[in-house]
Symmetry: C2
Subunit: 282 residues, 2 copies
């Protein structure tokens, strides 16, 4: 299965692609953005995944974060997937709310109807898409890092925790630290996974760490004036879980920063250098 | 008259504002984006204007170009205005085309009906907005640079050429080099200014240079795979006008780059350093 090129643009000496492909897992066409740095002309290079937040597509990170400059210097492929299945026949939140359904796949495999057929972002990102990336791009799949923002920070942490050894570097921007303990997460998990809260633990970074899952180490940036800090994100829960479990964590509270891509753009360079160091890149 | 804050976000240690204000010239509310670097806490700093292209608002440059990182390092205020008046009562292209009317003010003062009341982007940018920027921001108005993209490259060049001495640094990304000699420009100028082509010369960088207007020097970047290169942009006309007039020009044909913000993001650092050097900034 090969990627169809939707668009491609030269960027910092590399190429920014947008691809489309048919997904077996979601049963829909899916898009992703991939930046391929100039170093890939000479052989396979490490890969860093960026998972996006509520309402986003593959485009937000790609046009707003300014990550290509640093990825081009460090020789990293950047993969930015979409955040949910889309298209006719894909069910959405009954009220069209931004925090569930389209643009809000929450990186789970749904077990409740009517979500089970299409909402399979976990399997899409853990199995199907990595195989396609390996097949279609000059990607060294033994050197992968993962990061993300908000809902995508949750996605990055939980995918890494459930797949020990796969990612040599893990970080997050303003992640939803514990979906079991905030309104966004409770809405998503009760609808996609059902009322049994024990089944939610697979999708909660704090619960996974409590149950023994570990990361090599972990960098998290969080803005102090983020509107969602207290109600939804709760980095103190992640901090407490890491302290209790002896999981290394560098949590940086960034004074005056909000939840926007201006925050991500400011700190993406730090994150990509953190990843590159652990991936043996430049 | 003070700016109303629509939004503000911390960005690279400075602040990215979006402002709204009532414009006397356009007779509408107008928006602009302004990045204020951390150096402005200690006193007034130089200003670089970025004029955007067709279809853009104040947002495109602000979220896509990644300019704040460099402006924060160099201590530059960045001003990104909108590209036309907007709102109820503002006439638009009869067919709603992207290249005329809303989002396509072409940086002129219209002399033809029904455009005269609102389409006054020349006077807005040459007189009204600079006074408001001086009044509302920690801006050293004796140290100004100007740049822009496509239609905004045309705007930057022509505003600088008509206001000798005002700008110490001038550059452009893929500018419309000669609106008198391309379909976008011919449509805009014939509708806004009327059939007398002699009156168009005030809005054509090549004609202004031919008539004796000069810039200190000039940096222009142009992508070689830009879809509009041959039909609309025609940098060779600018080059010929500069050679004939002895106007210094550094024209860089950038291999493989297109007309998108990926092109701008790649080279904005070069441009801001070019400006900062001439503005006596860091």
């Amino acid at each position: 299965m090969s990627f169809e090129v939707v668009s491609q643009s030269r960027s910092f000496g590399g190429t920014q692609f947008v691809y489309r492909h048919a997904s077996r897992e979601t049963g829909t066409p899916m898009r992703l953005a991939a930046f391929v740095p100039p170093q890939a002309n000479a052989g396979k290079v490490p890969v860093v995944w960026f998972l996006s937040g509520l309402t986003c597509t593959e485009e937000n990170f790609t046009v707003k974060a300014g990550a290509q400059r640093v990825a081009s210097e460090l020789g990293l492929i950047l993969i930015a997937p979409d955040t949910s299945p889309r298209g006719e026949g894909v069910p959405d939140d009954a009220q069209g709310a931004y925090d569930f359904g389209l643009g809000a796949g929450f990186y789970v495999d749904a077990t409740q109807e009517p979500w089970t057929r299409h909402y399979r972002m976990r399997s899409y990102l853990e199995r199907e898409l990595p195989a396609l990336v390996a097949e279609n791009l000059p990607a060294d799949m033994s050197c992968q890092g993962i990061t993300g923002h908000s809902m995508g920070g949750h996605g990055a942490l939980t995918i890494a925790l459930r797949n020990p050894g796969r990612f040599k570097a893990v970080s997050a921007f303003a992640p939803i630290a514990s979906p079991m303990n905030c309104p966004w997460g409770e809405k998503a998990l009760s609808n996609y996974i059902g009322p049994d809260r024990a089944a939610w633990r697979d999708y909660d970074a704090c619960a996974l760490i409590e149950s023994g899952a570990r990361l090599p180490d972990l960098l998290v940036d969080q803005g102090t004036v983020d509107n969602f800090l207290e109600s939804q994100l709760k980095p103190q829960l992640l901090e407490a879980a890491c302290v209790k479990a002896g999981q290394p964590l560098t949590l940086r509270m960034q004074e005056g920063y909000d939840h926007s891509y201006f925050f991500i753009a400011t700190f993406i360079e730090d994150h990509l250098r953190w990843h590159a160091q652990r991936l043996g890149a430049a």
